[in-house]
């Protein structure tokens, strides 16, 4: 339904591998990163949080590298007061083909709270901060 975005890369087996956004610590690979969102706000993913979400949401493992893209170039951002929801469409494949990647960020500290795939864009809570849905190829 959504046209895939070739800019999105994926991590093999859910492990971080991109040197651009991952850092090596000793023998282990850390998945933490800090990027600016489309409005220039710093957003941080903490390694422990990512590890936790990989166990809770195993389907997002291969999409670690798409998270910065969802923040920097989202199709939709909803402001819910204490958190913002960034949606990126057209990134999922297979069973997730028609779903949007949603990144939930705490408004107070800019820390990513959760990442998952969703079929429904939830417009009924909060206010639309950014709407680029017209750019979605459908």
């Amino acid at each position: 339904m959504f046209e895939s975005r070739p800019a999105a890369s994926s991590a093999k087996d859910g492990h971080c591998w991109s040197k651009r956004i991952a850092h090596r610590h000793s023998e282990s690979m850390s998945c933490d990163f800090e990027v600016e969102d489309y409005a220039g706000r710093p957003i941080r993913l903490e390694h422990t949080n990512w590890e936790k979400h990989q166990s809770r949401h195993p389907e997002v493992g291969p999409y670690h590298d798409a998270i910065p893209l969802a923040l920097a170039d989202p199709h939709l951002v909803m402001d819910l007061g204490d958190q913002r929801h960034y949606y990126l469409l057209g990134i999922g494949t297979g069973k997730l083909k028609n779903a949007a990647l949603r990144v939930v960020v705490g408004s107070d500290n800019g820390v990513i709270r959760t990442v998952h795939f969703s079929r429904r864009l939830d417009f009924r809570r909060g206010v639309i901060e950014l709407d680029r849905l017209q750019q979605v190829n459908r």
Binding site: T48, N49, K52, S55, R56, H57, P58, E59, K95, L96, A99, R102, R113, T114, H116, F117, S118, R119, R120, L121, D122, F123, R124, R125, D131, L133, Q134, V136, R138
Partner: protein
């Protein structure tokens, strides 16, 4: 029709399909393994129905509850409640779901154990279906 309008319409159709696919939810709460956990780091309550699996995660309107949905069968396979402690204080629906989930996952040791579990399964399924329908 705008892209947003199309997406809203598709979302509504998707949730109708989810409702239809979960008419057996109460029975599944009774019959399948139910795992619950509370992550103290981020105060998130997690319920897993059946074995953990890849799933969609959908927010339910008017609440801060997420349901996990199998993308193939559209069956609900889990619940997540972020900020549980706060929600328990200010959201009676969350409190009801949390209480029912605890009973379903860990029935008390009593002679009438089957009845409370059955009732809790019905209540939990009903509450979730109402939220999906809202």
């Amino acid at each position: 029709m705008t892209t947003k309008a199309k997406l809203v319409k598709e979302g509504e159709a998707f949730f109708k399909s989810v409702l239809q696919a979960n008419e057996d939810l109460a029975a599944r709460f009774r019959e399948l393994s139910v795992y619950i956990a509370h992550d103290r780091d981020d105060d998130t309550f997690i319920l897993t129905l059946g074995e953990p699996q890849e799933a969609l995660t959908e927010s339910l309107d008017g609440s801060r509850i997420y349901v996990r949905i199998d993308p193939d069968t559209l069956k609900i396979v889990g619940i997540e409640i972020p900020d549980l402690t706060t929600r328990l204080n200010d959201d009676p629906v969350v409190k009801s779901i949390w209480a029912a989930a605890r009973t379903v996952a860990a029935p008390s040791i009593s002679a009438d154990v089957h009845e409370p579990v059955a009732e809790a399964s019905e209540r939990l399924a009903k509450e979730l279906r109402q939220l999906v329908e809202a």
